[in-house]
């Protein structure tokens, strides 16, 4: 039964992620005085892509063709770890937050390799930048997460969220820092403005798009879907860790339903914030990203230190 709920939750994650992407796009359009596409537009795009015949470069090897599947399943696995509507699910015991970061690394590894496989300048450029940013983002993210896990004394996400829930409303300075750090990292990792712009194909600024330039058809669909999933994943991570209220603690239908509603509401709100931020902020130069990320790292570190000094001092 628990396993079924876990699988159901993962499916839900996968299915809802295009909707979140659509919602963000909708909000942005609204903010920028443009006519917004339908909320379901991302679903349509994905469906369309799966029906198209994929065209693959002559230069491509098996790795290029396999990579989308690997990327997608790694992201799905990461999603299975994160509590969406309920905590204490069995999947979260099979992998903790460090493993989740590992899944992201796995997906990124293959994405970067796929970018290099064709042998174009764009692919290499994208891979190089992606690996640079992610290797700077990873310590910042772990720093933020460690603050959380040390407070909860577990690296199990589900356990950590349950811990925060049980503590009730406690104002922890460390969490404030960690929250901001995680938001900054999430923006960098999911390729949003100001680090990357998912909507542009201007060669000098591309990161994510540069790597997947050669993909088409179902391969592109998988990769797009995976990145939407990743975006949602970070959103859930942020909201559920720092504002876990509403999430189901037992597996009754009612609790689960409330959990779903709560998370949708929280995500919708977060998406609005994201859209506002993306509208207000301009994209940075590539070589200012390290300042941005080291700021995130600094926040994470401050969080950690305030946890050690202010909250758990002996």
């Amino acid at each position: 039964m628990n396993w079924l709920i876990a699988i159901f939750q993962t499916m839900l994650f996968v299915l809802l992620s295009p909707l979140l992407a659509g919602w963000i796009k909708w909000c942005k359009c609204y903010l920028q005085n443009r006519k917004a596409p339908s909320l379901l537009q991302p679903y349509r795009d994905l469906l369309k892509l799966t029906h198209k015949q994929p065209v693959v470069s002559e230069q491509a090897s098996w790795l290029f063709v396999t990579a989308p599947y690997i990327i997608f399943s790694a992201t799905v696995l990461a999603a299975s770890v994160v509590p969406l509507i309920a905590v204490n699910l069995p999947t979260s015991a099979s992998a903790d937050v460090i493993v989740m970061v590992g899944f992201f690394a796995f997906a990124r590894f293959f994405l970067a390799l796929a970018g290099l496989d064709i042998g174009t300048a764009f692919g290499g450029m994208g891979s190089s930048r992606e690996m640079t940013i992610s290797s700077l983002a990873e310590p910042a993210m772990l720093m933020a997460i460690f603050t959380l896990t040390m407070t909860a004394s577990t690296t199990n996400l589900s356990g950590a969220i349950a811990h925060v829930l049980n503590d009730g409303m406690v104002l922890r300075p460390s969490f404030v820092f960690a929250l901001f750090a995680l938001i900054l990292v999430a923006i960098a990792e999911t390729g949003r403005v100001p680090v990357d712009n998912p909507a542009t194909h201007l060669e000098l600024t591309m990161i994510h798009e540069a790597m997947i330039l050669e993909y088409s058809g179902r391969h592109l669909a998988l990769i797009e879907w995976a990145s939407q999933l990743k975006l949602m994943l970070y959103g859930v991570l942020i909201t559920n860790i720092f504002f876990p209220w509403g999430i189901a603690e037992d597996f009754t239908g009612k609790a689960l339903g409330y959990g779903l509603l709560a998370i949708m509401g929280k995500l919708a709100l977060l998406a609005v914030f994201l859209a506002v931020a993306e509208t207000l902020v301009a994209k940075m130069r590539l070589f200012r990203v390290q300042e941005y990320l080291s700021f995130a790292y600094l926040l994470g570190l401050l969080g950690m230190l305030s946890h050690i000094i202010l909250e758990a001092s002996r």
């Binding site: 994929p54 470069s57 002559e58 090897s61 992998a95 903790d96 042998g119 690296t155 356990g159 050690i308």
Partner: protein, 708 residues
């Protein structure tokens, strides 16, 4: 019985070395074997035929090489058997061999720690001996005689195994130096290249200084005890100062061998120039022997550890890990890159060992055992994947005659098997989930996150920072190996050699790496097997095992408790297979959407050439800008001008040289200092006999004055 197989492992490796010496003694071998067959088998015709056939002029070299590697492989098998047996039996076996000093025979002790390293060496040696015959085949006998290669390989392996068996300082040092000297000759094997000569010189010099430091470390212990046996050394009662001096000496000595920054410089010089299977052994296994020495010295002989030592290890480990991977990233030479990456991995191991020490000294033996576990597991993993990568590099070099990453590309098409094996190596070393590298790194993080139990505020804030550095290291490693794999195997070939490269013919050359790759994957999925083995080691050495919470069953890995953290690689694997399987099935069911091949999009400019691809230095350019202070970067761009008024650019030349800071900061001043001191000292010998008489005269007067 266990000890016998350990001895067998040592003797077989010796025997393989000695057999290699028979390379030029075909006639002798022939007559000996004919004689023995006539005596023992009454001249059995089939035996004779077989011998005659194999010892024929034509077959002999191949036959002998195979025989040598078979012996070496057997030695590896015996080492694995002995190691496993002692680990599962949880015993300690001691023995004495009547060699050595008159009052100090060689003491032998085989316990869990030695057994575990025996196991590591055994696996590596097995893989290498599968790989070896094919690899050495390409050496020309008159320039690179197999006799010396085989002899020193055998001695090298025997030396490493003997280090693990030693139970007194004297035997330990003999075995230790045997290992160093034998590997020195292997580094110098292709001595017509000046790189080999200077690398081997540097290597031997640092090995010598390191060994002296270790001897002095033992000396400190021996000064406070009666004897050089480890039993006696364990009993020595040291003051804290002397214990710390001993620790620093051991740290210096073993750290030099292990390649800790800043005494790592020999490593990136020596490993690339040795034959690849030797680099694999040196990088994969010999560094582990240094680690063994440090563990034996600190945890076993010194007895009580101090948390300050742990901090030293932690800091040095962090610096090495970060430095190693950052330097690795900038190397265009594949084997050099791998060597620097070894520095990184050793750094990680040292970090975790440091954590273990800190926990140990603060009275948390369980967490110490956890750190110890992570360290040993990472050592094991590193032995597997670094071996695999070096063997892969050897295959690449063998097929393309090239080690410069910038000259490769597209090998995935010509060398499908190698590319897959190498990919597994890259994934393991980048610590991606499902592979073994991830498990040890995960354990390392878990250890670091237990910092809350400590009382010391400095440690509590220092350790998480180190953990974040570990995260950075892991991410950089991933970037580095994306570069490696992408530049070598993917894209289009950047040189004609790479374009022409085909898969190796020799099955053994693939079998060796395949064995290692299989083990990487297997231990990534079922880490419990190895953890069980290491638990026995830490049980013996630290008196504490990791409380592997078996409540969740064998599928889970829960180092501290199931509530705190757990990881189940088999379930993850199943999940991944399901997810990938579902979408694969779903997306490919429509026959209309069969993949179509087309030209790569070239932005409409026409004609993509391999030179348009990102190169190695281009890939790492962002890192170079961000971490600019880490290296000494010499970047030169010059333009050839032509045309009227010399205003058109005809060609652009780009030169990039990246150097390690430790050279100009530490080593060059030392070398200059020695030279100039030598020059000053040389001035006393003027050549004039009257001056010399003056010396004697003055000495006499001074001495007479002194004594009266």
């Amino acid at each position: 019985m266990i000890l016998l197989s350990a001895y067998c492992a040592v003797l077989l490796s010796f025997a393989s070395g000695l057999l290699a010496l028979m390379m030029n003694q075909r006639q002798t071998l022939l007559s000996i074997s004919q004689y023995t067959i006539n005596k023992l088998f009454n001249g059995d015709a089939r035996c004779l035929d077989w011998v005659n056939k194999n010892l024929e002029e034509r077959h002999f070299p191949v036959f002998l090489k195979q025989a040598v590697f078979v012996l070496l492989g057997l030695s590896g098998v015996f080492a694995v058997i002995a190691g496993l047996a002692i680990l599962l039996g949880k015993g300690v076996i001691t023995d004495q061999i009547s060699l050595g000093l008159p009052w100090l025979p060689w003491h032998v002790r085989f316990d869990g720690l030695s057994g575990f390293f025996f196991f590591i060496i055994g696996i590596a040696v097995c893989a290498v001996s599968l790989y070896g015959p094919g690899y050495v085949h390409s050496y020309k006998e008159n320039e690179h005689p197999f006799a010396s290669l085989g002899l020193f390989t055998g001695l090298f392996v025997a030396g490493m195994l003997l280090v693990l068996l030693a139970d007194d300082a004297f035997m330990f040092m003999i075995a230790w130096e045997l290992m160093s000297v034998a590997s020195y000759f292997l580094v110098a094997f292709q001595h017509e290249n000046s790189a080999n000569r200077s690398a081997s010189f540097l290597y031997l010099l640092m090995a010598e200084i390191g060994a002296l430091a270790i001897i002095l470390g033992f000396g400190v212990l021996a000064s406070f005890s009666d004897g050089f046996t480890f039993d006696a050394l364990r009993e020595s009662k040291l003051s804290e100062t002397w214990a710390s001096i001993a620790f620093v000496l051991a740290m210096l000595g073993f750290g030099m061998k292990a390649g800790i920054v800043p005494v790592h410089v020999w490593l990136p010089e020596a490993h690339p120039v040795a034959p690849s299977h030797i680099s694999a052994l040196m990088s994969g296994v010999m560094l582990k022997v240094a680690l063994y020495g440090l563990i034996r010295f600190c945890f076993d002989l010194l007895g009580e550890v101090h948390w300050q030592w742990g901090v030293v290890l932690l800091i040095l480990g962090t610096v090495s890990a970060l430095g190693g991977i950052l330097y690795a990233m900038m190397q265009p030479n594949l084997k050099r890159l791998l060597a620097y990456s070894s520095v990184e991995n050793i750094g990680i191991i040292f970090m975790v060992l440091g954590l273990s020490m800190i926990f140990m000294a603060n009275g948390h033996p369980q967490l110490a055992a956890l750190g110890f576990l992570a360290a040993l597991f990472h050592a094991f993993n590193h032995a597997l994947f670094k071996n695999l990568l070096f063997l892969g590099a050897g295959i690449i070099q063998h097929q393309t005659h090239e080690l410069n990453i910038d000259m490769m590309g597209g090998l995935i098409k010509g060398m499908p098997q190698t590319s897959k094996l190498f990919l597994i190596g890259c994934m393991s070393i980048s610590s991606l989930p499902l592979f073994n590298g991830f498990v040890s790194e995960w354990l390392a993080f878990q250890t670091a996150l237990q910092v809350d139990v400590l009382d010391n505020g400095v440690l509590r804030s220092l350790i998480p920072v180190a953990a974040a550095a570990l995260a950075l290291t892991a991410a950089l490693a991933a970037a580095c190996f994306v570069k490696v794999y992408g530049m070598i195997f993917l894209g289009q070939s950047r040189s004609s050699n790479a374009g022409k490269a085909r898969e190796v013919k020799d099955k053994g050359m693939l079998a060796g790496p395949a064995l290692l790759a299989g083990l990487c994957f297997f231990t990534g999925i079922f880490p419990g097997v190895i953890i069980h083995l290491i638990n026995n080691v830490s049980g013996q050495l630290l008196g504490q095992t990791m409380p592997n919470d078996s409540a969740l069953g064998w599928l889970w890995l829960a180092p501290v408790s199931a509530e705190q953290a757990s990881y189940s690689p088999p379930l993850v694997l199943i999940g991944a297979l399901i997810a990938a399987g579902v979408c694969y099935w779903y997306l490919r069911r429509n026959p209309l959407t069969v993949m179509r091949r087309a030209e790569t999009w070239d932005c409409g400019f026409g004609g993509l050439t391999p030179r348009m691809q990102y190169s190695c230095s281009a890939f790492t350019m962002p890192f170079r800008r961000i971490f600019a202070k880490v290296w000494i970067i010499d970047e030169q761009i010059s333009k050839d001008m032509q045309g009227a008024m010399n205003q058109d650019v005809a060609a652009v030349h780009y030169k990039l040289q990246i150097q390690d800071h430790s050279w100009p900061r530490i080593y060059q001043p030392i070398a200059q200092g020695v030279n100039s001191l030598a020059k000053q000292v040389g001035r006393i010998q003027t050549g004039n006999i009257r001056t010399y008489l003056g010396y004697s005269f003055a000495t006499l007067l001074i001495l007479l004055w002194v004594i009266s």
